[in-house]
C-alpha cells in the first residue's frame, strides 16, 4: 500500500511539470513569431545596400585570324618586280575598286610575261662579227639596255610620291595618272614594233600608238576616263618627261645582244585572260 501511494506522489509532479512545459513552449513560440514578424517588417523598411552579383566569367576567342581580301594570285605575274608593284600600290593603299584593279593587273601581267627592255640613252651600239661552230660569220649588235619592269616600278612610285607631295588625295586622280604613266613607259620599249605586230595595231605616230594601246589594255574603262588617261589630265599636272629622264639616269644597265641580219622575233605573249580573284590574306 505504501509503495502504491509513493508512486502516485512522484507521478503527479512529473505530469504537472510536463503540462507546464507544454504550455510554456507554445507561448514562447508565439511570442517569438510576433517578434520575428516585427523584425522582418523593420528590415523591409531599411534601404538595402546593392548586392555584388558574382557571375562566372566568360572567355571570348580573340579575333586573331588574318583579314582576307579579294585579290589576284601572286603566281600570275611571273616577275618579282611586278609583284612588288602590286603589293606596294594596290594592296598597301587598299585600291580594290573596280575597274581600276583589274585593268592595272592586266597591264602588270603584260609587262611581267614579256621581258621588254628600253634602250639606255647613254649607250653606244657596237656591231660584233662572231664566228659560230660552223665558222659562219654572224653579225650581232650589242648595247646597254634597261629593264622595262624596273623603270616602270620607279616611274610609278615617283608619280605617286609627287602627287602625295602636291597633296592630291583624290583616289581617281592618282589612279588615272598612274595608268597614264605606265602607258608612257610602255611606249618607250625597244621592241614596241613587234609588240604592235603581235597585238595587231599599225599606228602611224606615237600619239595614235598611245591611244591604241590604251584601248587594248584598259578595255573596261569608260571612254571619258580613257581620254583623261590619254591626255594625262590631272588637277596638278605631272611632269612626265622630267620624271622619266630622272628614272632612266638612275636605273641599272644590262648588256644585251641581238642578231642584226635575222632578228629573232621576241616571244611576245598576248594579253592573257585575267584570272578570277580569290580571297587572300595579306601578311
Amino acid at each position: 500500500m505504501q509503495l502504491y501511494l509513493y508512486s502516485i506522489g512522484i507521478s503527479i509532479p512529473i505530469i504537472l511539470s510536463m503540462v507546464w512545459f507544454f504550455f510554456h513552449t507554445i507561448d514562447s513560440s508565439r511570442k517569438k513569431r510576433v517578434f520575428l514578424a516585427k523584425d522582418s517588417a523593420a528590415k523591409k523598411n531599411l534601404i538595402k545596400s546593392p548586392k555584388v552579383i558574382k557571375k562566372k566569367e566568360k572567355y571570348y576567342q580573340l579575333n586573331t585570324h588574318a583579314i582576307k581580301l579579294n585579290l589576284y594570285s601572286k603566281s600570275h605575274f611571273n616577275n618579282y618586280i611586278v609583284e612588288r608593284i602590286y603589293q606596294n600600290i594596290i594592296i598597301a593603299n587598299y585600291w580594290l575598286n573596280e575597274p581600276f584593279h583589274t585593268e592595272f593587273v592586266r597591264l602588270l601581267q603584260f609587262v611581267g610575261n614579256n621581258k621588254l627592255w628600253i634602250k639606255d640613252p647613254k649607250t653606244r651600239e657596237i656591231i660584233i662579227n662572231t664566228r659560230d661552230n660552223t665558222e659562219k660569220l654572224n653579225t650581232q649588235i650589242s648595247m646597254n639596255v634597261l629593264s622595262l619592269s624596273e623603270v616602270l616600278e620607279s616611274v610609278i612610285f615617283e608619280v605617286y610620291a609627287y602627287l602625295k607631295h602636291k597633296k592630291v588625295f583624290l583616289k581617281s586622280d592618282v589612279q588615272n595618272s598612274i595608268l597614264s604613266a605606265s602607258i608612257y613607259v610602255l611606249i618607250e620599249a625597244g621592241e614596241i614594233d613587234s609588240v604592235c605586230q603581235k597585238l595587231g595595231i599599225f599606228p602611224s605616230d606615237k600619239k595614235s600608238l598611245r591611244s591604241a594601246l590604251i584601248d587594248i589594255i584598259y578595255v573596261n574603262l569608260s571612254n571619258k576616263r580613257k581620254t583623261i588617261i590619254d591626255e594625262n589630265y590631272c588637277i596638278v599636272p605631272v611632269p612626265m618627261t622630267k620624271i622619266y629622264a630622272e628614272v632612266l639616269f638612275i636605273s641599272n644597265q644590262y648588256p644585251y645582244t641581238f642578231s642584226r641580219e635575222n632578228p629573232s622575233k621576241p616571244n611576245i605573249k598576248l594579253l592573257p585572260y585575267v584570272p578570277e580573284k580569290q580571297l587572300r590574306s595579306i601578311v
Partner: protein
C-alpha cells in the same frame, strides 16, 4: 644553245683593254688580258680589231689574216676578205668594208697598224693565245665591254 652554256661560265679574271692605233680613223686593238693572281702573271688570250663602232674580228686567227692583208696590201688580191685596193688621185688606198659603210687606209697608216701590233703583243705571256685562245661569243664580248665601260657613249 652553246652561247647560253658559255655565258654561264664567263671567266671573271679577264678584262678588255682598248689600245688606240689610228685615232683619226678610230681604229683600235682590243686586248683580252687574263690576270692570274696565284702566278702573278698576265696572259694574252685574244686580240680583236675595232673600227669605229664595229668589232671587225673577234678571234686571233681573223686578226692575223686582217693584219696580213694590210701588210701585203700593195699587191692586192681578189680573195682578200676584209680589204680591197682603190686608186684615188694617183694614190693607192686600202678600202676596208664595214657593215655600215667603209673606210680608207693609206700606206703610212698601214705601216703604223703593223708597228702597233708588235707593241701590243709585248709585256705579256703569249703561251695561251695560240693553243688556248678564249673563244668569245657575242654575249661574252658584250659582258666584258660593259664591265670595262666601253659600251658607254664617248663624250
Amino acid at each position: 644553245m652553246l652561247d647560253e652554256q658559255i655565258t654561264k661560265t664567263i671567266p671573271s679574271n679577264i678584262s678588255l683593254i682598248e689600245i688606240p692605233v689610228i685615232r683619226n680613223k678610230k681604229i683600235y686593238f682590243i686586248r683580252a688580258k687574263e690576270r692570274v693572281d696565284q702566278e702573278n702573271k698576265n696572259y694574252l688570250r685574244s686580240i680583236l680589231i675595232m673600227i669605229d663602232n664595229e668589232l671587225v674580228t673577234t678571234n686571233f686567227a681573223d686578226t692575223v689574216v686582217f693584219l696580213a692583208e694590210i701588210r701585203k696590201f700593195e699587191r692586192g688580191n681578189k680573195q682578200n676578205y676584209y680589204t680591197s685596193i682603190e686608186h684615188h688621185n694617183g694614190d693607192l688606198n686600202l678600202k676596208v668594208t664595214l657593215t655600215d659603210g667603209y673606210i680608207y687606209i693609206s700606206t703610212v697608216e698601214a705601216l703604223a697598224i703593223i708597228e702597233m701590233h708588235k707593241h701590243a703583243l709585248q709585256g705579256m705571256s703569249l703561251i695561251r693565245i695560240v693553243e688556248d685562245e678564249l673563244i668569245m661569243t657575242a654575249e661574252m664580248i658584250a659582258h666584258y665591254l660593259n664591265e670595262n665601260q666601253m659600251l658607254n657613249k664617248k663624250s
